[in-house]
Point group: C2
Chain length 228, copies 2
Amino acid sequence: MQCGLLSVSMAFNFQQDSAVNNVAMDNVAGSEGPEQTVSDATQRVLDVAERLFMQRGYAAITLRDIAQALDMKQASLYYHFPGGKEQLFVTVVQRVLERYKAGIHQALATHRLDLRQQLMAIALWFAQQPPMNLLGLMHADIPALSQASQAELLDSVFVALFAPIRNTFAAAQQIGTIRTVDPDMITGAFLAIMDGISYRQAHSDEISPEVMAQEMISVLLDGLHPAT
Amino acid sequence: MQCGLLSVSMAFNFQQDSAVNNVAMDNVAGSEGPEQTVSDATQRVLDVAERLFMQRGYAAITLRDIAQALDMKQASLYYHFPGGKEQLFVTVVQRVLERYKAGIHQALATHRLDLRQQLMAIALWFAQQPPMNLLGLMHADIPALSQASQAELLDSVFVALFAPIRNTFAAAQQIGTIRTVDPDMITGAFLAIMDGISYRQAHSDEISPEVMAQEMISVLLDGLHPAT
DNA sequence: ATTATCTATAGATCTATAGATAATGC
DNA sequence: ATTATCTATAGATCTATAGATAATGC
C-alpha cells in the first residue's frame, strides 16, 4: 500500500488501527498494576540511544557509541536489550512514535473542528521535537532491519503518524473545508514539511516555533499567491 | 548560515556562486580538449555506487557491497578512488548535485517569468529522478565525513539546490507574484516536498509524475482551501 | 535472588595497503 | 607504459556471548 510520500508496503486496514494500537500502548504508562515497567537504568539507555540513533541513523551509530555516551561498556547494553542493536533500535523508534502519536492526538482533540488550528498545533508539536528524519527512517534505517522488525515499525509509523493525519485531511475534504486532492499525497507532503520544521528548529533559532508553524500552515492552506 | 529547512553552516556568499561553480563544472563535459575525463570503468563504479549510496546512505553501504554489485573485488575500487570510501562518496554526491543543478537551471530557463511553470518543471524533474534523500544526506551522511568533505558538499548543496530555488522565490516576491514569506523557509519546504515526490514516485506509480507535480505546485501556490 | 554492571574474547566484517597479473596501446 | 583487475593480509572495529563481580532487597 502506498501512502502519500511514504510508502508503507503492508496490507493495512484502517479499522484495525485501534486494535494494533492497544498492544503498542501498554508500555507507556501502566494503566494496570503489574505492568512490565521500564527501569530507570533502561530508561537512560533508551534516552541516549534515541538521541544518537535519531541524529545519525541506525547504521552510523554503534553500540560502542551508545555505551560510551552512557559511560559504560558496550557489552552491558545486552543486559537491558538481549536482542542487541536491533531490539534497542526498534524499542527506541516505538517509543518515539508513541510520543508523536500522543502529541498529534492531543493537537487534534484540543482544536476539534478547526482544521487550521489542528494543523498549527501539530506543526508546533513537530517544531518542538528533536528531528526524527522520517524519510531517512523509512528509506535507510527500516530496510536494514529483519523482516519482522520492518513490518512492526512500518505498522507503527502508519498508526502513529500517517493514519491520524490522513484521516484529518480526508474528513476536512468531506465537509468541504479543503478541496479534493489525493489525501495520501497531502499527508506525505505535510509530513515532509513537518520533518523539515523539526530539522530547522533544531539547527537554528532565527524563527520561533510559533511563527514557523503559522507560516507553514498558512502556505499549505492559503497558498503563496498574494491575498488579493 | 541557516537556509530554510536545511542548515548550511558555512559563510556563503551569494555573489560567489558562479566562481565556486565553474570549478565544479569542469568534470561534466570537457569544454577543453585535455580535460581529465572519467573512464568507462570508473563511470560504472560511480553509477553503481550512486544507486547504493543514495538508496541506503553512506554508513549502511560498504565498499564490499559496491564491489559485489559490480562483480569485482573490494580492493579494486581503490584503483579508481585511491581516497577510498569517502572520496567515492563525495564524487558520487557531487555528480548527483551537478545533475540536479543542470535540471533545475534548465527548468528555470525554459519557463522564464512564469513561476508556476518553473516550479512545475522543477517538480517534474524531481519526480523523474531517483530519490536523493536530501534530509538524510544533510543529517546523517555529511556529518560522517571529514571536515574538508563536509565543507565541500555543503557548499555544493547550497550552490546546486538551495541558491537557485531561493533566488527564484525571492525574485517572485520582489515583483509581487507571491506574498512575502521567509524565502529560506519556503525553499526548505519546497525541497522537502520535492524530495518526497522523488521518494513517492520511486515507490509507487499510482500517480503520474505530471499529475503529482501539478497537484503539489497547485497546493503550494493556491493552497488547499477551496477555490471559491 | 535480582539488578546492573564489568572483563575477556570469539567471530565476523570493514577499510586500506602491497604487490602480482593480464590485457592493451605505443 | 597504462589500465584494470586480482590475491593476500594487516589492523581496526563491531556485534554478541560467557562468566565474574558488586550492590541491594528479601
